[in-house]
């Protein structure tokens, strides 16, 4: 890219040819502001208990890993490659530290199973009370788990709407200026299938997902439309996504 001036280019060449530690350090420092950007974005959706300084530390490991593995001669843009590795490193570390207790993740699978069973039996989306009773847990606990699943990104549609952007594919990311025609067709097709499944959801569930994923509204704005709190929006979001996924897999 244009900002790959000769000085940076020479530094990359020196580091890749000799593994020179000073060159590596200069590259880490030069690109380190990217970590600030990514840690801020990832941190924005996390519970306040997560220390932003920790996110930056994990992110720096991701940046170093990206610098060591990057191949400048392939002509891809380093920044795009790096931010996906940085994000991946932060999320991998958080998952390894079990910041979302295993109990919440185990419950997510249980909720998904119970939703499928009840929807099949009732031929409609179960209420929170019906779901909680079926699972033998208090409604408040169910709602708390649903809210957490949304907040920490364990339940969502990002992987369906934009498969390219999930961290697992971070390695192959080039500077995606133009998606290929196949990618475009695939994306349109997924959106069409999603929109169809969305239309079969009950009103409130459909609205939460439409406002968040297709209109880009914030949690607060969605809360205003539905007349509920932001935490209630988080709960409805998780429930609607689980219900939608059940319908897609039928």
């Amino acid at each position: 890219g244009p900002e790959r001036t000769d000085e940076i280019g020479a530094l990359w060449a020196r580091f890749k040819a000799t593994g020179d530690e000073t060159a590596r350090e200069k590259l880490i420092i030069h690109y380190s502001p990217l970590v600030k950007f990514v840690a801020g974005r990832v941190g924005a959706g996390l519970p306040r208990s997560v220390d932003p300084g920790d996110l930056v530390s994990y992110g720096i490991f991701g940046l170093i890993d990206a610098i060591d593995k990057f191949e400048p001669e392939r002509g891809f843009k380093f920044e795009t490659y790096a931010i996906n590795r940085i994000k991946g490193a932060i999320l991998d570390e958080l998952r390894a530290l079990d910041w979302v207790p295993r109990s919440v993740r185990a419950k997510a699978r249980e909720i998904e199973r119970s939703m499928a069973e009840l929807e099949h039996r009732l031929q409609r989306t179960p209420t929170d009370e019906e779901l909680a009773r079926h699972m033998g847990m208090p409604v408040e606990e169910l709602q708390d788990v649903l809210g957490k699943l949304s907040m920490v990104g364990l339940v969502g549609l990002d992987d369906l709407l934009d498969p390219e952007s999930s961290t697992t594919r971070g390695d192959m990311i080039a500077d995606r200026t133009e998606p290929s025609p196949e990618e475009n067709y695939q994306k349109e097709e997924t959106r069409r299938v999603l929109a169809e499944a969305l239309n079969k959801l009950p009103d409130r569930e459909r609205l939460v997902l439409t406002l968040y994923y297709f209109e880009g509204l914030t949690l607060a704005e969605i809360g205003e439309v539905l007349g509920v709190t932001e935490s209630r929006v988080c709960q409805l979001h998780a429930k609607s996504v689980l219900s939608l996924r059940n319908r897609l897999s039928e």
């Binding site: 600030k36 300084g53 949304s150 990002d158 609205l207």
Partner: protein, 146 residues
Amino acid sequence: LEQLRARKALASEVENELSYYRRVLHGRIDLIRFEQRRRRGEETRRLIDALPEILSEQLGRGGSEMPRTFVTDLPPLPDTGRRDIDHILSDEVLLRLDEMSDERLQVSLDALLAMEREVSESRRRVQQVEDRLGEALAERYRSVGA
């Protein structure tokens, strides 16, 4: 509704670009300030060892409890190379931090600070536009009886 949607999508794209540039500027500014403190003897650590602390300033959410959105995917990076911010960022000051004179370092810092004020100002204005459009969209949905 279509027009509102298009205008909001555009505001959000511009806001993403400005937020990216702003955070890159913040990183550079804070790294240079650390180097200046080191030269004055107020810091004994090496820059590379202090990176986590330098880069985590002003990163918390401040007052609000709830996030604006869920942990979402990163927006695509802006295409760089065309604007005057790219010109400022092409100053490879971070590659030669330890070799630059104090005056030259201050010149780089002043240029970055001036640009940061401009970017933060326009980001705030674009955020206000985006928020007004978001409110208008929410209102449309509310009035059709959600």
